[in-house]
Structures are given as structure tokens and as C-alpha cells.
Symmetry: D2
Subunit: 337 residues, 4 copies
Amino acid sequence: MVIILDKKASEAQIENIVKHLEGFGFQIHKSTGAERTIIGAIGVKPNFDTRNISILDGVDEVYRVTTPYKLAGRNFKEDDTVINIKGVPLGGNEIAMIAGPCSVENENQMFRLAKVVAQSGAKFLRGGAFKPRTSPYSFQGLGEEGLKIMRAAADEYKLLVVTEVMQIDQLELIDKYTDVFQLGARNMQNFSLLKELGRVEKPIMLKRGIAATIEEWLMSAEYILSGGNKNVFFCERGIRTFENYTRNTFDLSAIPVIHKKSHLPIIADPSHATGLRDQVPPMARAAVAAGADGLMIEIHDDPENALSDGPQALLPETYLKLMEELRLIASAIGRTI
Amino acid sequence: MVIILDKKASEAQIENIVKHLEGFGFQIHKSTGAERTIIGAIGVKPNFDTRNISILDGVDEVYRVTTPYKLAGRNFKEDDTVINIKGVPLGGNEIAMIAGPCSVENENQMFRLAKVVAQSGAKFLRGGAFKPRTSPYSFQGLGEEGLKIMRAAADEYKLLVVTEVMQIDQLELIDKYTDVFQLGARNMQNFSLLKELGRVEKPIMLKRGIAATIEEWLMSAEYILSGGNKNVFFCERGIRTFENYTRNTFDLSAIPVIHKKSHLPIIADPSHATGLRDQVPPMARAAVAAGADGLMIEIHDDPENALSDGPQALLPETYLKLMEELRLIASAIGRTI
Amino acid sequence: MVIILDKKASEAQIENIVKHLEGFGFQIHKSTGAERTIIGAIGVKPNFDTRNISILDGVDEVYRVTTPYKLAGRNFKEDDTVINIKGVPLGGNEIAMIAGPCSVENENQMFRLAKVVAQSGAKFLRGGAFKPRTSPYSFQGLGEEGLKIMRAAADEYKLLVVTEVMQIDQLELIDKYTDVFQLGARNMQNFSLLKELGRVEKPIMLKRGIAATIEEWLMSAEYILSGGNKNVFFCERGIRTFENYTRNTFDLSAIPVIHKKSHLPIIADPSHATGLRDQVPPMARAAVAAGADGLMIEIHDDPENALSDGPQALLPETYLKLMEELRLIASAIGRTI
Amino acid sequence: MVIILDKKASEAQIENIVKHLEGFGFQIHKSTGAERTIIGAIGVKPNFDTRNISILDGVDEVYRVTTPYKLAGRNFKEDDTVINIKGVPLGGNEIAMIAGPCSVENENQMFRLAKVVAQSGAKFLRGGAFKPRTSPYSFQGLGEEGLKIMRAAADEYKLLVVTEVMQIDQLELIDKYTDVFQLGARNMQNFSLLKELGRVEKPIMLKRGIAATIEEWLMSAEYILSGGNKNVFFCERGIRTFENYTRNTFDLSAIPVIHKKSHLPIIADPSHATGLRDQVPPMARAAVAAGADGLMIEIHDDPENALSDGPQALLPETYLKLMEELRLIASAIGRTI
């Protein structure tokens, strides 16, 4: 932490600041220039609230110098993390594909779509079993029945399952059926749930909160990592901005930024980012070109009758055609799908 | 819902659109102009996903015409709702004051601060007992012990208790000690919790999500109201914008907007909105002048050693002086505190 | 400027960084800790692009320590600046009122409205003479004819004139008629125009750009001040955010922030910030309560037929009633209107 | 325009609303439902301010149904516009490359960089001659001397020139040297300048304002088109959001949205969008994959000593390598560079 003092800071004020810093356990390096004094404070805990210092009299500005995360940082681990999910890598040279419907609706639907997913070469099947919605009258998901169906469909087509956990009390149940826990955007800062996910053994797909900075996102990963679970990957899914033609603004720059700041993989979800079917293929292609380590795509073979988010689901034929384009783009940057 | 068709929409496309609308249960009013056809669709459920229509061929734009909320709307109930909290009104001519520390730290602290709160004429004592934090190493709140202390301090000084519930499994416990349930910004769209809060009998203070539009906020209130709990009031606490000098941007315009759109009361929280002590008094004054039905203010008599959010807490003397100014401002607009 | 080096920065990298810093004219203070080296660089020009250092190998983070503005800063001048506009103070204890229509439409309209402005006790008359609009077919303002009318109306009622200048080539003409130059939000970073305004003698009302941070706004003031014109005051008029119920989000926190960072006065414009007549009175009251040194309010006695922005204009009777409330609020915080 | 009336709108109110609509020149279609009345108003001018109706008593909501632009819309012209710039197409299957330094610094620099541009296969050379900057002490550009140098360098290597015009009084001078006029982000709503650009014969590259919605951007294009200049193309360069790790948030979704809404070409500028050299290659690749009709890239062979924006300039070798990747990605989606 670097503390810039007021030009007019008195000796008594400086002493008081130093006393506080030492009280918080910092080592102090004071350097007095012609115009003002700068204090370097070494040893800050990642989560120190710098406002504790900025409100003291005589302080002009305070800069936290170290990142508030450690385990998630590129400084901590120089090489890219590759997560091994039952033998399927996520994070290396091969780009991982996750596809499936928004919600598990029934057995027939899941088996039909799992077949499409397998046919496309993707290794992961997605689908929601718990769907708390804006209205109490909307479809709320099939619950455990949905999990069972998805597992069976995945097994039939040799796919791995990715599904969302929303509450701590669902963890044990979902753990029986899934291969990857998805943590949704609204729960990115649900610290109780993050703490529990630090104790499970399966990988966590951590979606970005709709208003989360990249740093806050890294902090949420840190929370899981610090609990002991090293298998975390990010999923960019759009942020809220003044532009509202698209549902969210897909922040693809987050991909190279995460790759610079962290060793953890990052995938992208163009379906939720844009919310509109015809935007999904160009944005999926862009995500791969920007360096995403994977994609999550929603598909449906009867989107007009889908029980949720039909308007953003790709038809199987569009999805299969997209996969061809993605393979060419991956190859253009030396990767495979 | 109003559907504007493409100028070039074919007869077959129009028929298909009408078929879909009828399938969703709408009554249709078609009016064909010189340039294009407009379809009015009556009977839409509040939560209908208009994208289901906007993706059909031949559709240019779709406008949802009714608000997605009903019970929360001014149309549903013309008069202002005044919530009676054990005899203390919230929402009428008198402006309600809620004050107290960020966290309950110990008995002595709470009794000292409760005394200040009572002395100021405020009727509500606030304090957090569960404080899941960004870091697992930070102070996490006293839990039930904190609730007990706060209840005792409130009873001693004839105050009412406002405290936050974060998870469904805390509801029963907190219910034993609180008079008002606070729902925090991060949980504004935790629909499972909203559903449970619709079943309790105590009033709910619904904080605005950091990236929530006013309409989404009203929808969250609707969720509680539709569960049977009519005692909901809003709390504006700042939104995330590009400006980051203040922690959030305090959206005071939300006060007259909510008063126009809804019959429910709205209070404001300048402490969390700004995050900086010296910003709290001017923003508290502004909130009252803008028509807020109440304020929530954080206070602490030793903020430098507060276990959380000390930098935004007012000192008792600043708080008491602020109350004097607020009384004059309330009087200027024909209200009392 | 403080430069935090990579933990793994080599000696050669550090030397190269120091060489660059010295090349840019900085004095260097190097302090080597257990984990990493920190370099303090003294003497940076306000406008130094810190990215020049952040891209060098071995650099982790760069913090600009001094503010990029000087003359506009509270450090430069401790006392509040009070601008004397032909004997009328702007910035002291008395809150300045500017009122009038969006556009000057004709002589009769301006004289009627100037009378209302004078009757309310306001000292400043506003009105637009040049109105370049989104459409080439809209009313574009009366030009010099409008300026003449406004000057005559102001003189008749002993008011001062505030009007907008949009292009350098209008400066000479407008100077003949106005007492204060308004610089609009879209021109806040029109540096050529800012430079010219630094050379005029009349006060400048500097509106905040719709996406401008407070720091960028201070920089624009700095530009004018550095040209020699010391009479600059700010006008908050709303920023663009994801919330679009109101035209803009009125950032009232900017008022105490500017008062902390700068010695220059700041007024607020609730008419443009909200864009809706019924939002103007509560937001005007809030601005005064937050500490604004003045207000700019649009009024019209026939808003349904106004040639521009009628929907946000207050009727004279609403405006006069608002002034009564504002006087009480001003008095509550020890000021006068 | 569709006007939704209040459920409780009186007959007198409805009559008054209709009278106003007719006064504005609309044709009226009134349809009275069980719950409320809806009025369709046909014939609205693109720039009608719907607030004129929304403030009338008895009105609940007003929806503008037609887009406010016409000539720029896909409805007006179904086929993609391909702009012919001295024989080089912009907008068709071939992706146009514009490259060069931020500022023209001297003859030697421009000739060296023009050679690199030509070598890469790009057809357009960029460079700034007028650089009004945040500080009056910074490099302000070479002016006409810079234009002469750039023209000579372009001619030597058979390139076309793209350069920015900032003020009306620069138009005539710049016209002597440039092949394309760039309109910068800060001038996107400089309506006087837009009007003048509608009268020139050369193509206009219209950059998106930092806080401009896609619709406002289309309106600015409409302004130029309506003046008679049909050769307009868009340039996405990032918008301002709460995320500030990157200078701006590169809104790549704007590319497919513009392609859907408009027939005009759109290119992307990853250099200004990200502001950081190491972000440029992934974002350039993503823009091509998303369907951009061109790219503008800043390059410099001595970025540490560049007179402006060095930190975002690619080195020639990085740029040439990037071009190889871009060719493969273009080919993956059936296009060429």
C-alpha cells in the first residue's frame, strides 16, 4: 500500500497515520520529498479496506499496490492451468465445447439434444434443472428428475454434465449427477456458497456477475481456491451497460485480460451475453478468435416451444454449421476444437 | 403487447405470428395501415418473454405495453401505502429514521449506539449479525449472539430492530429477534428467498441491486407481494456506473420515480451509496429533500476500530447535528422526522 | 508517480525503466523491499501518459500520484472561489438561480418569461439561440435575433444573460450579448473551444459531459483556467447509465465531491438531468440540500407548444412554488437564495 | 407511435390527446379494449419528441414505433452498401485494412510506416495531423505539414489516406489531402459538422461516441446521408462502462447489430478500444470473426518515443504476424483480406 500525504500534513498527523498503520500490522517505509511525504506500507492482507487509512487526517490518496487475490494470480502460478475433467482437458490448446438446452424439459428432448451435442464433437452437455424465475407462475425446472434425465442422456452419448447450483442445500443432490458445478452470475458474490464450493472436488465454472469488475471476479475465484478447490474456470457472459439493444454487453476483452492476470482458463457464453439467436454465431466466432478456452452454447430443436430462453437457442443445424466455422478459426490461431 | 410488423411481412408470416399469439393465449387486434400492419395482443401475462414473438419472421419490433408488475403498481392501489411497524408508521408524512452500526460487535457497543439512536428521535436500530465477507479471514459477524445483543439494546431504548437475512435457513432464527427483514442488494433477485419472504408477516426492506433497473426492482417487490406479504418498502443504495470516485452512484431520481410508479414507500441509504463519511450528510439531506420516506444511516463512536465499514460511519455528534438539519428540510416540504 | 515492479524484474529491466523515467525528466527514488522494488518518480507533468511506463518490461503497476489538474484543485487555492458576475456573486453563501426557456422563440415569449424569472428573485436569464438538432428539419434557433431578444428582455428586468456557445466562430457574436458563456455537455472536451474560452473575460459555466468522470471534468476546467480565465463554475446535468427511466442519472454526489476536490463553484441542472417535468422539483430541492451553489431550471408558460424540450419545462406557477420550498431548504443549511 | 392510455383516462383527456396528435399532423387509429384505450398515431416525423405526448394527462406510455432513421436503415436499402474509394471497395467480401501511426510525426517516420502498411497488403494509411490534447503543453500535431507528408507517403506506396477532421474550418484544407474523412468519437453528435460532411463527396468514417447507443449512432449517419453523401461507414471503438481495466469496453456485438439494422459497412478499431498493445491482436481477430468489414490498427516502429498513444501501437513485426492470422480467420468465414 502506498499512502500519499497532503502537502500540508502536520507532524502530528503523520505520526497518527504511522501509528494506525503499525496497529494494522504494516511495516513502514517513509520517504520525504520536497513537496510531500509518501509512505510505503508493506505486509497488507489481501482484503484490507484501504478506506481505513484514506479517512485519516493528512492523507491525500491511498493506493493498494498488491492485487487483492493471490492464488488466482499469474504471479502465483506462471503456467496456464489445465483442468482435467474425467480425462477431458479444459484450458489447454483444445477449446472445450459445452452445449445443450437452457432447461431440461423432458427425457425425449434431452436425448435428442445430447445426440446433437455428441455429433458436433462437443464433450460437455449443459441443462438447467432448477430455474427459479421472475414470476412464481413460470416453469421452475424439473429438479432432481431433470438431473437424472440429463445424466442418463450424457451417459448415453459419452458426455460430461455441467449444471448450475444455486443454494448450499442443493450441493449434495447435484453432486450425485454433475461433473462440473456452474455458479451463476447472480451468485458470483454469494460468499457462503463460494466457501462451500471450495470444499467440493469437482471443477467450478464461475460466471461473471452482471455488474462485476474483472478484479471482483478474480476475488470470487480466490475464495474458492483458498478453500482448497483448485479447479476453477471463468465464464464471461456479458455485463450491464447503457447499450440495451443486446441483453448485455459481451465483454470479450475480458478474455485476454484474464489470461494476463490469471493462470485459470476462461470460456465464453454468447447465448446469455446477447440473448438473441442471430447474434450467437458471430459472437461465438469472435470469442474463439479472442482466445477463449471454451464456449457454452444453448441449443434447442423446437425453440418456439422451449420452456425458457428459446429466443437465444440455436437450432441444431445452425449449431453444427457454426462448429465448422469455429474449427477453422481455432486452427487459424493454432488451436483445436 | 404491440407488435409492429415488417413493411415486407408476407401474408403467410402474418398468419404464423397470429397463430403463435393465439397459442400463447392472447386476444388479437390487427390494424393495417398504408405502410405496415400493427397487431395489438391483449391479455399477456406479466412475465411473458416478448422475445418469443420478436424472433418470428415478419416481426420488426415488439413492445410490452403493460408493466410486468401489478400489485406493486400505482394503478393497483392509488393511495400511498403506510406500513405499520408495531405502531410506528413507515411511508406516511413522517420520515422514518433507521440508524446503527454496520455490524453488531459487542454488547457495550450496541447499547452505547442504541442510546444515541434513541436520543436522536429515530425509531429503528440497525446492525448486521451475519457478515459473509470477500475474504474468509475477515470478521464474519456474531451470528445469533449478535441478534440477541441487538434485540436487548433495542428493547432497552424502545427501538425497533432492522437486520439482514441472507439465506432461507436463517429466516426462522432471525424472525425471533427482528421487527423488519432487510433483503440486501446482492439478494434482490434471489427468487427462492423472495418467495419465502412473501410468506412471513413482518415488513421487508428491499434494497436495490447494484445493477438493477427500477423495473426489475419493482418486479422483486411484486414477487414478495404476490406471496401474500403486503408490507414491502424499497431502499435506494446506489448503482454501479463508470464514475468511481464514490463507491456507487446514488440514484436519487429513483425516489420520485418509485413514488410515481408504485404505492410502496421508499427510503434511502446514503452510507452504502457513497461509502465515504464526508459524503453522507449532504446526500442524506438530498434524499429527504427528494421525498424519501426514510433514511438508513450507519453510525459508530469509534469508526477507526469498527470491525466493518468504519470509513462510512458517522460519529454520533455528526449524526445528531445532521438530524437537526434534516428536521428543517422535512419541515420545508411539509413533513416531519 | 509510483511504479511497482514485477517480483521477477531483472536488473537490466530495472535499469531500462530508470533510464526511461530520467529521459522523461523525472527524479527517481528507488526503494527495494523483501519481495519487490518500488520506484517513486517525482516531477511528472500533469498530462504525462502513464502507459508509457506501464508497457515497459518488468513493470507491474503504475500509479499517478498527483492529480492531473492543479489550478482547479483545492490544494492550489484553499478558499471557495466566489465569482463576481456584474456584482452578483456565484459560489458564496447565496445560491444563484438561473431560469428561462430552452430556446428563445420570440420577443413576447422572452419578455413574459423574463418577468417570471425576475419575480422569482432569480438573477440570471437563460435561453438558447443556436440549437443544432438531431434532425436538419427541426427548429435550429433564432441565432443573433434570439440573442438580441434575450438581452433586451434581461435588461428590461435587470437580469444577467447565460447562453451557450458551440463553436469558436460564434464567440465574438455571443460575447456582445451574454454575461456568462455556457459550454454544453457535448463540448466538454472540445479542446480548441476550451482554449479560446481561456482567453475571454466572462465567466464560463462548464457542463459535465454525459460520460465524463469527475476527474475529466476538472481537467476541462483546468484547460480554461490555464488560459487565464479564472471564472469557471461547474454544472452537473446527469450522466449516462444503464437506468433509462430518466433521461440521465443525476449524479448529485458530484456536488460534495467537487467541493472537496476543487475551490470552484458547482450548480445543478435538474431539467436536463431528468428530462421530465414532474421530476424537476424534487431533484431541484435535492440539489440545494446537497450543497449546490446554484440551479438552472427551464421554464415555459406554454410547454405543449414550446419549440424544444417543452416536456421538461416547469410552468411559471410550479416554478414560483418551487422557489418557496428552495428558500426554506437553503435556510435549513444556513444559506440564502 | 402507439399511445397507451391510463385505465382511468377520462373522455375529456382522450379528446385533448387526440387534438394534440392531430395538431402535430398525425393520423389517428383509436382502439378501445376492455381495460384501456390504445391510440395508434401514423405519420410521425423521425425526430418527433414523444415526450410531447407522454406529459399529457391520461397518457400512460408512449412508444415510437418507427425507427428515427430512414436512409441508414436496412428497410430503405436491402443490399449491403459497398463504398468505392478510388477503386478500392469497402463493405463487400474483402475486409479493408487501415493502418498507420496515431500522429504524423515527421517525413521519415511516415515513409517507414507507409512501407510497412503497403507490405502488409493494407490499402489505407492513417495518421493524425491535428491533435488537440488534454494539455495545452502536449504535442498538437503538425497541421498542414503533416497532411502533406502523409499524402506523399501514401502516394509513394500507392495507399489511400484516412485522416480526422475536427472543425468545419478544417474541411477545405483536409479535403486537398485525404481520401476518407474520419469523424472522431467526440464529434459524433456535432450536428453542424455532420451537416457539412453531408455535402462533401468523399467517404466518411463515423466513429461511435463513447456513450452513444447504436440508435444514436445510426441517427448521426442519417444526418450525413440526408445531406446527400451516401458514402458513410461506421467504426466501433469502445464504449464507457464500469469496467476500467481496459480504456473502453469494445462492443463487438455492435457489428452484427449494425449489419442487421443498416446496409452501411462497419469496421472496428481495437487500438483505441483497448488502449493497450497486448490487447490489440486478440481483439482484432475477434472483430474479423464477428464480421467487421474492416479494421483500423495503430502501428509504430518506436512506440516508446511516439509523440502520442505509443502504448497502444503495434510494432511492425507484430502487425505483420497479426495480418497472417487475420487472413486465416477471414478465410474461415468466407472472406478475404
